[in-house]
Symmetry: C2
Subunit: 408 residues, 2 copies
Amino acid sequence: MAVIVQKYGGTSVGSLNRIEAVAENIIQTRQQGHQVVAVLSAMSGETNRLLSLAQSLDKHPASRELDVLLATGEQVSIALLAIALIQRGYSAISLLAHQVGIVTDNHFGRAHIKHIKTKRLAQALEQEQIVLVAGFQGVDHENNITTLGRGGSDTSAVAIAAALQANECQIFTDVDGIYSADPRIVPQAKRLDHIRFDEMLVMANLGAKVLQNRAVEYAMRHNLTIRVLSSFNQGVGTQVTNHYSEEMPQNQLPVSSITHQQQELLLTLNNIRSHQLTAEYIQALADKGIELDMLNQTVMADESITLSFTIHQDSEQQVLKILQNDISNNAGVTIKLDHNVAKLSVVGAGIKSKTETIGQFFKALSDEKIEIMLISSSEIHISVIINKQDLIKGVHALHSAFNLNLSA
Amino acid sequence: MAVIVQKYGGTSVGSLNRIEAVAENIIQTRQQGHQVVAVLSAMSGETNRLLSLAQSLDKHPASRELDVLLATGEQVSIALLAIALIQRGYSAISLLAHQVGIVTDNHFGRAHIKHIKTKRLAQALEQEQIVLVAGFQGVDHENNITTLGRGGSDTSAVAIAAALQANECQIFTDVDGIYSADPRIVPQAKRLDHIRFDEMLVMANLGAKVLQNRAVEYAMRHNLTIRVLSSFNQGVGTQVTNHYSEEMPQNQLPVSSITHQQQELLLTLNNIRSHQLTAEYIQALADKGIELDMLNQTVMADESITLSFTIHQDSEQQVLKILQNDISNNAGVTIKLDHNVAKLSVVGAGIKSKTETIGQFFKALSDEKIEIMLISSSEIHISVIINKQDLIKGVHALHSAFNLNLSA
């Protein structure tokens, strides 16, 4: 009898009806002869509701106490689902992080899982119980409640699956798998049967986030199979592993998917007079925790330096303040901020090995007369910054150029 | 430095504003030089909200899981109050039942406290922290969450106060103490400075419930001083102890208060032909957990038996069903049900020793031409069943007759 760990996110348990649907889904897995451990998030909206209560009392609530507060969200979900399963005649038990022994460090609000005790879980499975574990939460060595940060339930599920050496960790969400492009933009986009963890990580960083990165990294390290499924529709979803799909032909498509992102701003600093000053700019931003993306530097004919990079739109004010105030000598430097940009990327484990891919990429955009402002690439992705109004045209062009259309 | 345990009920923490008011109240106690352990209920309405979620899934939700669900209510309260106190610059820590070690039996939904570990509490107090403990909940020997039943936070507070040998257990509620009668009916009713636990228990049973009986019994056994106070107004409240008040003159008033109750129905069974059948009736009801009050039996001239008693109105349907179906041979017995009754009582530790009290009691009611249907009494109370429409008149008459009026 195989152990399957299932994770249901906030929208999957967002109402009593949804909780009953999840109960039916778990029962179906059980009837297929599997043991089930289900890891749940808080009902959608609940974490934000609790957070806003806390912030009404203190704009920056005490982190230990905020974790005590937020952890109630998942506790409600597991108790309600257990009630629904027991009502249907199935033996089920809810377990909180301290009852399982999901041991974390004591960084409240962003704790890391150190290890998971399997004794209590194994005991419940031995008793043929369906086990419902509160996601997102842990307990430190002093028995304080901790939380893992937004999306932490993914990490809980993956870590529990690894600890139990489960056959598969199924992540139920509101999409039925991972797509070759955003189906809202490209109707011909197709669900991928399989992708690799490294592709998934890059896709997440490039705007197609389905799983929390930490969860993906954890699964990757423990060589665990993840499957992304919809809790709203039946289907096989997308399998994510460390390997190439066995069913894939060797001459597989170099590109798995097209991703895009519109939350970035392009900053260009012109007329920087020394490499030292360039370094000072970058360091000042990095020290304040600003993530610089698509970083690019050019030495101009007059030996001045032009520095370009993108930042998340949320950090605009903070970045401008640092650039204007924290730099000792920025005489002559001009700062240009472009809000009208988007990032367009192709992701695929085969990109590096297929040298023609980069040519195809640029030809496709050039054919559509799309101007490229910045470029970055790795073994498994190519990203460019383009004008926002060219984005949809660009997604379609690349999706066709790399033969990803559903009918292909 | 004295340790004071304070308990705040649901209405006392019913909103963010109320939580901030409680924070200020605790800070005031702290500034008077006391250590504070505050035990909190769920925000008013929250327990019912959670219960109705569970009952939408299952009319009789699995009891272990219902406790997991309901326990989140108090968890939210203590976390929010901790956040409010820390925001005000005070060191505070929230502790759940499993973190304190409030060990109970495993009767989910109505668990009894077996013992309370003081190590974690003492450690927090040593560190000069204000300690906020989740009321209503415990943990069994297998680390399952339990709850103590409605009003269980009172018991939590009293048990913690006893375990810590606290100087006083202050119960903050929405009334500013215990009154000589319901002030909504008798405007001249006065707040009692002091009453005894046994009087309090009898008053609770007679309709003037301020504290959970189990909490009162626990405090009584551990010789702990309780003080009932308002969290909405300043005041000294009512002190409850095992002793007579020292400030009281020896010739104190025999009666402390007048209580009343309107949730009871009067049942009269006429023409019962044998004592055996009488016993069968009583046993059948008792076996089903029906509480019979004011039980009275008379043998009539024709040797038939008349049995009278009151029941809570909520058990009307169940009682009628038992009387009509579960009795082997009830031929000839007539059952009369009277909805139009009320119970009127006087309570006071001095009733037994002052033989004139019972005379005064009947004279006061007789002067008002109030007809008495049933009587019961003990060392510290006299209760009668009267017509509902005579109730207010009766409360006033007794309140005056025993010199309880404010100006007296």
